[in-house]
Amino acid sequence: MSRFLAEVERRAFQMAKFATRNRDEALDLVQETMLQFVRRYSIRPQQEWKALFYRVLRSRITDWYRRTFVRRKILAWLGRPEEEDPEDPLQSLPDTGNPNPSDHALRQEQRGVLEKAIRALPLRQQQAFLLRAWEGMDLKQTAFVMKCSEGSVKTHYSRAVHTLRGLLEGIRS
């Protein structure tokens, strides 16, 4: 269990951060996900863990999304400004261990563009893209995680790829 959690925690954190755009909120979601996952599914066969873990994570992100939507509506109604999501200062620190600084800078820039583009995607497209393209899940697994049909996954994924390809022409080359 320890090895499994260590394997998924970083990607889970990044996925939560793409959705929330906030480090602390993302960490809270990972915490809720891990606790719920071990309480409910730790006795299930190990080969089912990955899909079940991401299913819990997706569910927690969706709940967060709903809560935040309502909170933002109330704040807008009260006339208060929306909370700004602070950018992680560690992301902009130079990596001194890299032998080729220009290559690293290019990579950092590309990553910044990609992450911004992923954050801009609608939540369902973002989830379908990350689960399929990054986690390497097949249609069936992705549909199970997202609690929708395989057809819906195909639609969300292809729309996400289409949008990202348009936005990331520089990365393709």
């Binding site: 925690e9 970083r10 954190f13 990044q14 996952f37 990579r107 990054w134």
Partner: protein
């Protein structure tokens, strides 16, 4: 040569960049993730120990053994079905199942006493 599909190349590039993003999350985030993992593992351990609580199994086992022993003792001490019932029980059964008035049997001593009185009253000692 196998030229890679541009779509495939694009996805490979995306995967590489996303993986690169998880390599250095910062010491605060990494420490917090470690803490979260530790907390989750403790919860998993608690869950496992609640699922198989040793003390509860001992209690359940003892109760089952005691119940079995009590049932066994009951059957061992109870009379078997083949043993004939005592004579008194048969008489009682005949009285209960008979069509006669039960009052007659309850006052049997009185009728005996009455009978003996009648016999004593007659000079020749003969009955009616």
């Amino acid at each position: 040569m196998n030229a890679k599909d541009p779509e495939e190349l694009f996805l490979e590039k995306v995967q590489g960049l996303l993986d690169h993003g998880t390599e250095n999350l910062g010491s605060h985030t990494e420490r917090r993730l470690e803490d979260i993992r530790g907390e989750a593992l403790t919860a998993a351990e608690e869950k496992r120990s609640r699922f198989f609580p040793p003390r509860r199994w001992v209690l359940v086992g003892s109760f089952a053994m005691a119940t079995l022993a009590a049932v066994g003792l009951f059957f061992w001490l109870s009379p078997s079905a083949t043993t004939p019932p005592p004579t008194g029980q048969i008489e009682d059964l005949e009285i209960i199942t008979s069509q006669e008035q039960i009052d007659f049997y309850q006052n049997l001593d009185f009728y005996r006493w009455l009978g003996s009185k009648e016999i004593r009253k007659r000079p020749n000692g003969k009955g009616l």
